[in-house]
């Protein structure tokens, strides 16, 4: 064997690559998993795309704001599918009862998290790229025309999705499969607060404070400003990024604490219900 670092803080690209390879083997072996990545974002796109068509025909305002719903649904899917890509890859280890094998291997928790982040992007690309092409073909909406702004939106949304995914993974480690539903539903708690389809101003004043504490709110406001008023709000993106740094850091700390707690209560041995 080659020289092995003994530090808990080491990041080995070799071990991260091994875990990414493991998930790619899995995706390659299962066409249902691949189909699942694409079909729901596509269904969402068609529902909201046709709704947008209908409203635009009856409202001058929405006719001018063509694409705002389609952009919103695509952005929401980046947020939701990003977290799901992270959490489902983690759940694969629990479903296959493989977690103990990983936990006694030299794989560091932080390397595991890095592999899950990479898989989140890969799964997102597999699901979202075809859907964005469908948006161009059916609704004449090209999200890539947003250019640099799209990169800023994407980076902020994916960071939030990872922060949530890391916390969910920690809860699953600590509490077992009984907490699985969190992986599928936690992001929906954020949906009304992050104002995906409407401006923050429609929320009651007291709720707006909560909304502005969430990075995706800034992204969706920024997206509406860009699509409807053709203004890129860099200030909103910077505020979202600052909040994301805090939430992502907090997510990593929570994950490591939950892992420690899992070692204490013995839940790494029993990863069932």
């Amino acid at each position: 064997m080659s020289a092995v670092s003994t530090s808990a803080l080491t990041l080995s690209p070799h071990r991260i690559g091994a875990m990414v390879l493991r998930y790619l083997y899995l995706l390659r072996s299962s066409w249902t998993r691949l189909l699942e990545l694409i079909y729901w974002p596509a269904v969402q796109l068609f529902v909201w795309g046709f709704l947008q068509f209908y409203i635009a025909q009856n409202s001058g305002f929405f006719a001018r704001a063509a694409g705002v719903f389609i952009a919103a649904v695509l952005m929401w899917d980046v947020l939701f599918r990003g977290q799901l890509g992270f959490s489902v890859s983690f759940l694969e280890e629990m479903w296959s009862r493989n977690l103990s094998n990983l936990m006694i291997s030299p794989l560091r928790p932080i390397e595991f998290v890095c592999a899950l982040m990479i898989m989140s992007i890969i799964r997102l690309a597999i699901g979202m790229v075809p859907v964005t092409l469908l948006a161009i073909a059916f609704f004449d909406f090209n999200i890539y025309s947003l250019g640099f702004a799209l990169a800023a939106f994407f980076m902020n949304l994916i960071l939030t999705s990872w922060a949530v995914g890391i916390v969910v993974a920690g809860v699953l480690l600590r509490n077992g499969m009984g907490a699985e539903s969190l992986a599928w539903t936690l992001m929906f708690v954020l949906m009304p607060l992050t104002c995906v389809y409407y401006p923050v101003s429609v929320l009651p004043d007291w709720l707006q404070a909560f909304a502005w504490a969430l990075p995706p709110t800034y992204v969706f406001e920024g997206m509406r400003a860009l699509v409807m008023q053709h203004v890129f709000r860099a200030d909103l993106m910077l505020a979202a990024f600052a909040l994301n740094v805090v939430y992502f850091g907090a997510g990593v700390i929570v994950f490591l604490q939950l892992l420690k707690s899992a070692r204490r209560v013995g839940s790494l041995l029993q990863t069932g219900e």
Binding site: Y25, S29, S105, G266
Partner: protein
């Protein structure tokens, strides 16, 4: 005249050193103040009934479970705090831990080989496949194999890094006698060739009698006895280790000691 002091030999590092180890889950004392040390290259059986604390002990040795008190050292590294000093030198096999079913045997071994930074991984996989009769299954999904074949794959995973320390939790559970005997033969061969330390938790007395040079008997989280299989059988005045196990499990060992 000044005489230089005799060079002191380096203190001998035990493969495993367990000292006053306790694990309490809520109100249950799963492991209750056990101590033992294993020499490097030894093969030891950890015996006990259900709930004796064998699996929790092995889990603490691997760093999967944090002790409530006491210490576990593996090759000199305290677990779980210093686990990354030794995890690459250890491995584990248990029928209660699976490998991803949809991945082929070769894919699974590649993933674990990379995690353990095994050099010439393809060569190592071919070598293990030949030793464990896996060559014809290498490209089959792991989940489609029989229980015996899966055990051989799990063993290949446990040996992929040629570990200095191998921990086995009931390695032949659910196997037919012929396959179980075959697996024991492979384990004996590995230990002879590698000089590895092996700790084996089992319910199978014949297996422990055949493989182990030392047996630690556990009951309700404590060590009830600790000796060679032959010495235990002689001391308890029995014919087999199974009878000794039953004596201890049913408390007849304590009764016998009290009578003496």
């Amino acid at each position: 005249m000044f005489e230089p002091p005799e060079p002191r030999s380096a203190p001998r590092v035990h493969a495993i050193a367990v000292d006053q180890l306790v694990k309490v889950y809520k109100t249950t004392r799963a492991v209750d103040g056990i101590s033992f040390a294993l020499e490097q290259g030894s093969i030891t059986g950890l015996l006990g009934g259900n709930g004796a604390g064998k699996t929790t002990t092995i889990a603490m040795i691997m760093g999967l479970v944090m002790p409530t008190s006491g210490t576990v050292k593996v090759l000199g590294a305290e677990m779980p705090r210093e686990r990354y000093q030794v995890l690459h030198k250890m491995n584990f096999e248990s029928p209660y831990v699976d490998m991803p079913h949809r991945l082929t045997v070769r894919q699974n071994l590649k993933v674990f080989g990379r995690l353990y930074a095994v050099e010439d991984l393809n060569g190592r996989i071919a070598e293990l496949a030949e030793q464990l009769d896996l060559t014809e299954f290498l490209d089959r999904p792991t989940g489609k194999l029989s229980a015996g074949q899966k055990t051989r794959v799990a063993l290949a995973k446990a040996l992929i890094n040629s570990p200095q320390m191998l921990l086995l939790d009931e390695p032949t559970a659910s196997l037919d006698p012929d396959t179980a005997d075959w697996v024991r033969g492979r384990l004996e061969r590995f230990r002879k060739e590698r000089g590895a330390t092996v700790l084996l938790a089992s319910h199978n007395m014949a297996e422990v009698e055949r493989l182990c040079e030392r047996v630690i008997m556990m009951k309700r989280g404590r060590i009830e006895d600790d000796d060679t299989p032959r010495q235990l059988i002689t001391r308890y005045g029995r014919e087999t280790l199974e009878e000794v196990f039953l004596d201890i499990a049913r408390g007849r060992g304590e009764a016998r000691e009290a009578a003496q």
